[in-house]
């Protein structure tokens, strides 16, 4: 068992092996780092959310126990009047983002996309929505309605 010839694999010197490792690591880290920068380039600049008071028409225009859909620049909102109190919920379905519709005869909100059904208070009655409709703060000043919503004014980069 002595004086066996060394296997062919060990023909490389330690120096050559180290050179290969450094070359391999360097290439991987370098190209990987660049790829990461490219991903960063693609990731959008997300501006901080700022709540703003959005004017939403006259309080007298909403009939008692009635619902009105208003299209605000910041998004669609359902204004409701119950027991003379004004409330606002987002009109965006919590399932996959379509705009719900008010069905006065059934007193329900129904989403046309995947048939999510909500009651007057925005709670889920049936269908796939995971959460109730988002409640929004609403203020009335001098008969004018203001809804507190995240601003979309800043332009997307």
């Amino acid at each position: 068992m002595e004086n066996l010839p060394p296997p062919a694999m060990v023909a490389r010197s330690r120096r050559e092996f180290m050179a290969d490792v450094i070359l391999g690591l360097g290439t991987t880290l370098g190209l990987g780092g660049l790829a990461f920068r490219f991903l960063e380039y693609l990731y959008p600049v997300i501006l901080p959310v700022k709540l703003v008071e959005v004017p939403a028409g006259n309080a007298s225009e909403i009939p008692p126990d009635g619902v009105r859909l208003v299209h605000l620049p910041e998004g669609p909102v359902m204004l409701e009047k119950a027991d003379n109190e004004l409330r606002a919920v987002s009109a965006i379905c919590t399932h996959l983002g379509c705009i719900i519709q008010w069905h006065p005869e059934a007193k329900k909100f129904i989403c046309p996309c995947h048939q999510g059904v909500y009651d007057f208070n925005g709670n889920v009655l049936s269908g796939p929505p995971p959460r109730p409709l988002e409640k929004l703060q609403v203020k009335v000043r001098d008969g004018q309605i203001f809804v507190l919503m995240p601003s979309l004014k800043e332009e997307q980069v």
């Binding site: 693609l42 990731y43 399932h95 996959l96 379509c98 796939p128 995971p130």
Partner: protein, 344 residues
């Protein structure tokens, strides 16, 4: 040898025999039926889509305020625009049909089994790319269906665990659907996806050739016939018939355009194109997490099918579990699709 061909051979030193060899590839005789031409048809349709797609980019503008008008111009004002857009739309629909038929053929002949599992995986990847092409394609028109499909489709991504939100922002180019979204979808549609498609089609074909065509279970014949000219001719006939059919279809049913996208109003009756009906039906039936989770399981199962088949075979040899499980999923998909088509 003519002077011209000698001139070329001196400058491009390739042995013509090397080029001819892949053309003469021997194919098993069971392929001499029309059903085995299905794999070539999506590739021919892809060529139609590349040509018509490049033509469409000459007039299309990927910006929300101009996209709809530019598609409308292509459809109604540009000379032969209706033909180019109609062919693009028709070829896209047919491509999905032929990819599905090809998959069904491969499935029921069990051609995906060892050692060809990876080519099935590549094939499913090509199918997914085809669907993403279709989805980004109809998003570009910027009519009501485009806009709401984009909203719903991207929101589905948000429901993914952990990576959902960053991936959503990445795809939309912002937290909401905005002008960046349209540029990104356009970029995917004309840049990223075509590149992936060409690379994967290349790998798919290379693997078919390296393994040679899968034997047909239960067919004892060992005779072969050459790819060129026999099989090529058959593929060419299918391709020409499809093209004739497509041009005639577009002449009788020229493309139209839906109502302009209005981000403030989701129309009452809205649903995706037919190939998304099964997913759409499933999403309506289940909660959001089961809806998304179920879809992920389904797609993963499709990718891993050859390995699932092998496992089923090990558990109960000769019971044909693959046929039972596969047919059950196949029928479920068809039932969901037809259900959605009828009930709406």
């Amino acid at each position: 040898m003519s002077r011209a061909s000698r001139w070329i051979e001196e400058r491009v030193p390739v042995d013509p025999e090397v080029l001819r060899k892949p053309l003469r590839e021997p194919l098993p005789v069971h392929m001499k039926t029309w059903i085995f031409c299905l794999g070539g048809t999506p590739m021919m349709l892809f060529c139609v889509l590349v040509v018509t797609g490049i033509l469409l980019t000459f007039y299309y503008v990927p910006y929300p305020t101009q996209a709809y008008a530019s598609v409308s111009n292509i459809t109604f004002k540009v000379r032969m625009g209706w033909l180019v857009r109609g062919l693009h739309q028709g070829a896209a629909q047919l491509m999905i049909v032929t990819v599905l038929l090809h998959m069904i053929r491969v499935f029921f002949t069990r051609a995906y089994r060892k050692p060809r599992e990876l080519n099935w995986v590549l094939g499913v990847a090509l199918f997914m790319i085809t669907l993403t092409f279709a989805f980004t394609g109809y998003s570009l028109i910027y009519d009501q269906l485009s806009y709401w499909a984009t909203v719903v489709g991207t929101n589905m991504i948000e429901a993914l665990p952990l990576i959902g939100k960053p991936l959503l922002y990445m795809l939309r180019g912002g937290p909401n659907v905005n002008p960046n979204t349209l540029s990104r979808f356009y970029d995917f549609h004309i840049g990223v996806l075509p590149t992936m498609m060409v690379l994967l089609i290349g790998a798919h074909l290379a693997l078919v050739r390296l393994h040679s065509v899968a034997p047909l279970p239960g067919d004892p014949r060992r005779e072969t016939y050459p790819f060129f000219p026999d099989h090529m001719l058959r593929e060419a006939i299918v391709g020409l018939l499809i093209l004739i059919g497509l041009v005639n279809y577009v002449m009788f049913f020229p493309p139209t355009i839906g109502a302009l996208a209005t981000p403030g109003n989701t129309p009452g009756h809205i649903r995706p194109e037919w190939y998304f009906f099964p997913t759409y039906r499933w999403l309506k039936m289940t909660s959001l997490s089961i809806g998304i989770g179920g879809s992920i399981v389904y797609v993963t199962g499709l990718f891993l099918w050859p390995f699932i088949d092998a496992t089923l075979e090990r558990i109960a040899p000769r019971r044909n579990l693959w046929l039972i499980v596969g047919t059950a999923f196949f029928l479920m998909t068809i039932v969901f699709m037809v259900w959605e088509a009828i009930v709406g």
